[in-house]
């Protein structure tokens, strides 16, 4: 294309950490008024590229040019001065300060030496109006949804820098509608002539928003293509470097034999201000999907099932026998397992090794007096590292040093090691690269063939449809419908959510 000089250009960027190459001769260009998606598996070098561009990491090789002139930002502030702003997945703002204070933090308008709160709030309102956001700017930021916080962060970044905006996985914790709002904001900025670098895991979002896409793998740039000239399959192949096995097109799991007695039956199970009472019968080998928008009570349901929150109504029967699940310890003793949504705070034990993370739940069930020997632990860990393809140099490596997807797999391995009869997976594929994603879905199928029952919670309706025998749909903290057999489609899920469901909580006894 006939652009004299691109807005931002990197040539031959190289970076290595302790001898490990993270970036290897990467070229990258960003034009004014384009959305440029950056794709790659975890560990491909996306974050490193962004951090080198913004001066967070010092580059080992290569040059960075802005408007054709060489620049060398040393830190985030330097990058901002050059016009490059970054918004990360975890919003780096202060939730207890007001929206206006967050926008103007460190540069508050002053009057007689004091912060001019009124001017600050007026300016914030004007600024946010440009993003189609009309909120109470004096309210603490933390009171708003992640999506609003995200937009505030973008507004601050753009206001500070104004030429290049880098969005690092901004949609990871947003629901569909929020993603649309965010996209509208991005399109507006694009129309204003900003260059936008967009990092994501979601292919459909790339096709919905981006103009060009650069794919990285193992620290190298594989290709940069215009989105209009490519298709998802081609991109996935570039990311993986191999042909994708047919993941998305597999048929849903067959429903368990209708005659089979439920292994685990929750009846009238609920908790005030959390989830309204529901019935859930789980048969051996069955995968039950739980679908719903964020905040519809999906995670709350999982917490009830696993005893993290105590139910205040209802009963649980296992193999016909009435039991009580008052704590995760009870649940684990009954053969339950739970991979939480937020693996960082609820899942991994960061400083402990991969080995210890994998044996933790099994050891907890055995009790402290019956320790697994070091050899038994290593054998278990090795087995699951191989089975789940957990990428680590060493099972003694602290698990926090693994990439997100591999941490997720380590938590999964922890539960598989207990040989559970019932496993709850909350957003098992969130923030995970395509390769690991496929592996986890394959694994789910394999486990259930072995007789384990599963509850899978996911925002990816297509993914749910592929792997579930039945899908329970939630809305407003209520179980509003159940889909099975031929009715199991993403459209049906959305219709159920939209319609409020036919309220057919039928027990397929």
């Amino acid at each position: 294309m006939a652009h004299p000089s691109p807005l931002l250009e990197a040539r031959g960027l190289g970076k290595s950490f302790l001898g490990q190459t993270a970036l290897d001769g990467v070229d990258f260009t960003l034009r004014a008024g384009e959305v440029h998606a950056l794709l790659g598996e975890n560990g491909a070098g996306k974050s490193t590229l962004v951090k080198v561009l913004t001066g967070v990491h010092r580059r080992d090789a290569g040059t960075i040019l802005m408007d054709g002139a060489e620049v060398a930002p040393h830190d985030t502030a330097g990058a901002q001065a050059l016009g490059i702003g970054t918004v990360y997945q975890e919003v780096n703002l202060l939730p207890n300060l007001s929206v206006a204070e967050n926008i103007f933090l460190g540069r508050q308008p002053r009057r007689f030496g004091l912060v001019d709160r009124r001017a600050m709030e007026r300016n914030t309102r004007t600024l946010l109006a440009g993003y189609g956001l009309a909120i109470d700017v004096a309210a603490p930021l933390g009171r708003f949804s992640v999506a609003v916080q995200q937009i505030v962060a973008i507004a601050r970044a753009v206001d500070l820098s104004g030429r290049v905006l880098i969005l690092d996985e901004p949609t990871a914790s947003l629901d569909r509608q929020e993603v649309e709002t965010l996209f509208a904001v991005v399109r507006r900025l694009k129309a204003r002539g900003l260059g936008i670098i967009f990092i994501t895991h979601f292919l459909d979002q790339v096709f919905a928003l981006a103009d060009r896409v650069t794919v990285l793998r193992n620290g190298r740039r594989i290709d940069t293509v215009a989105v209009a000239d490519t298709d998802p399959m081609a991109i996935v192949q570039m990311m993986l470097g191999r042909d994708l096995e047919e993941v998305e097109s597999g048929p849903g799991r067959p429903a368990a034999a209708a005659g089979a007695a439920p292994a685990i039956a929750f009846e009238g199970y609920g908790r005030r201000r959390s989830v309204e009472p529901f019935d859930l019968a789980i048969r051996p080998g069955e995968v039950i999907g739980i679908a719903g928008l964020l905040g519809s009570g999906r995670t709350e349901t999982a917490r009830l099932l696993f005893g993290l929150d105590a139910a205040d109504s209802g009963t649980v029967r296992i193999d016909g026998r009435s039991v009580r699940i008052a704590s995760p310890r009870h649940a684990v003793a009954l053969g339950f397992g739970y991979c939480p949504e937020d693996r960082k705070t609820d899942g991994i034990v960061g400083d402990l090794s991969v080995r210890e993370n994998i044996v933790l739940a099994l050891q907890a069930r055995r009790g402290w007096l019956r320790p697994l020997s070091r050899a038994e632990q290593a054998e278990l860990a090795d087995r699951f590292v191989a089975a789940l393809d957990i990428r680590t140099t060493d099972i003694e490596k602290p698990v926090k040093l693994l990439s997100g997807g591999n941490q997720q797999k380590a938590v999964l391995a922890r539960w598989l090691a207990t040989e559970p009869r019932f496993l709850i997976l909350d957003e098992p594929t969130r923030g995970i690269d395509v390769g690991a994603h496929a592996e986890i879905i394959r694994l789910i199928n394999r486990l259930c063939d072995g007789g384990m029952s599963l509850v899978v919670i996911s925002s990816e309706f297509d993914e749910l449809v592929v792997c579930s025998s039945r899908i329970v749909v939630l809305r407003d903290r209520r179980h509003v419908g159940e889909l099975a057999g031929g009715a199991l489609t993403a459209t049906a899920i959305m219709r159920t959510i939209a319609a409020g469901g036919a309220d057919d909580r039928t027990e397929a006894a």
Partner: protein
């Protein structure tokens, strides 16, 4: 042990042992007779033995404190618990009770104190620093009630033996500390307890979700800390043949915390090493003994001690390591030029 862990453990131990060696060396420079050890009256005698003997109470406290700190907590009450257990032991023995009764009651008092702390922390979810502060303040009051404000002295040889007796030449406090340390290491490393403690310290929520009985483990570490404090309290009382409720164990909680930190544990919880904490306690005592024997005016004691601690902590900080490496690299370059 896997080779990887063994090397890592060694890499962690090396700087601590070198610090200890440096302090001993400096003391030797200040006082040439420092390394002399003789046998006197059937017991080993010398400054090095003093370091071990005087360091034993803090080392014993550090064993319990290590476990508490590994869970992300802290136990400020250990000094006061020492005063309580010393008071109980001294009062009972002065009352003519047999040693077994006095010991059981003193250690039992420590266990009770630990139980109280543990319940506040694990069940009522009070922050450890606040929860243990309660006993830190009231414990000394309880001890004074037991002794009725006076120093309760005793002449019972069996109790005195615990403080100043010797086994095979080794002072009894050293023997007790060594046995307790070995028992504690076996207890946490040969069972799954150590892993549970570390897991809770690193991520309590994840540990709950993994099915750990977090409350019981937390209560257990505070009970262990209380027990250790009680034992240290009995030793200190036996050593001076009296229970001094006002002064026994005063500020020793800080020495115990410092020992654990010098041993390389993070106050945020997680990985711990009982042996390294004991090395930390010995570093502190080597420092104290070195200062005493060097003959500096006492006005400098605290300043000197603080300066040494700062130097050690700076040496241990990973940031300092990086800066040092950078300086080394730069000077290396200039030299090459």
């Amino acid at each position: 042990m896997m080779p990887g862990t063994a090397t890592r453990a060694l890499a962690g131990a090396l700087p601590r042992f070198s610090v200890l060696a440096l302090i001993l060396l400096a003391s030797w420079l200040a006082f040439p007779g420092y390394f002399d050890v003789t046998v006197n009256d059937g017991r080993l005698y010398g400054s090095l033995i003093d370091v071990l003997n005087r360091g034993a109470p803090v080392a014993i406290l550090a064993i319990g404190m290590t476990l508490v700190i590994a869970t992300g907590g802290v136990d400020l009450s250990v000094g006061a618990v020492m005063a309580v257990s010393g008071a109980v032991a001294a009062t009972l023995i002065a009352d003519g009770q047999p040693l077994a009764v006095a010991l059981a009651a003193a250690l039992g008092a420590g266990v009770l104190c630990g139980l109280w702390n543990g319940i506040l922390v694990a069940v009522l979810d009070i922050q450890p620093i606040v929860a243990t502060l309660i006993l830190m303040v009231t414990g000394r009051g309880i001890a004074q009630l037991v002794t009725e404000g006076a120093i309760v002295t005793f002449v019972d040889e069996s109790l005195i033996f615990i403080g100043s007796g010797a086994v095979a030449g080794m002072p009894m406090p050293v023997v007790i500390a060594a046995v307790l340390a070995a028992a504690a290491v076996l207890l946490v490393r040969r069972t799954a307890l150590g892993m549970f403690i570390e897991a809770i310290g690193v991520n309590r929520r994840a540990s709950v979700q993994a099915g750990l009985n977090v409350r019981v483990v937390l209560i257990a570490v505070y009970v262990a800390s209380g027990f250790c404090a009680a034992l240290a309290g009995v030793i200190v009382a036996a050593d001076i043949r009296g229970a001094d409720a006002n002064n026994a164990g005063l500020w020793l909680e800080l020495d115990a915390i410092l020992a654990v930190v010098l041993g390389g544990a993070s106050l945020l919880g997680g990985r711990f090493s009982i042996l390294m904490s004991i090395v930390g306690a010995l570093i502190i005592q080597a420092m104290n003994t070195g200062i005493l024997i060097s003959g500096f005016p006492p006005e400098f004691n605290l300043i000197l001690k603080a300066a040494i601690v700062v130097v050690i902590l700076v040496l241990q900080s990973p940031q300092a390591g990086r800066i040092a490496a950078a300086i080394a690299a730069r000077t290396g370059i200039t030299r090459r030029r």
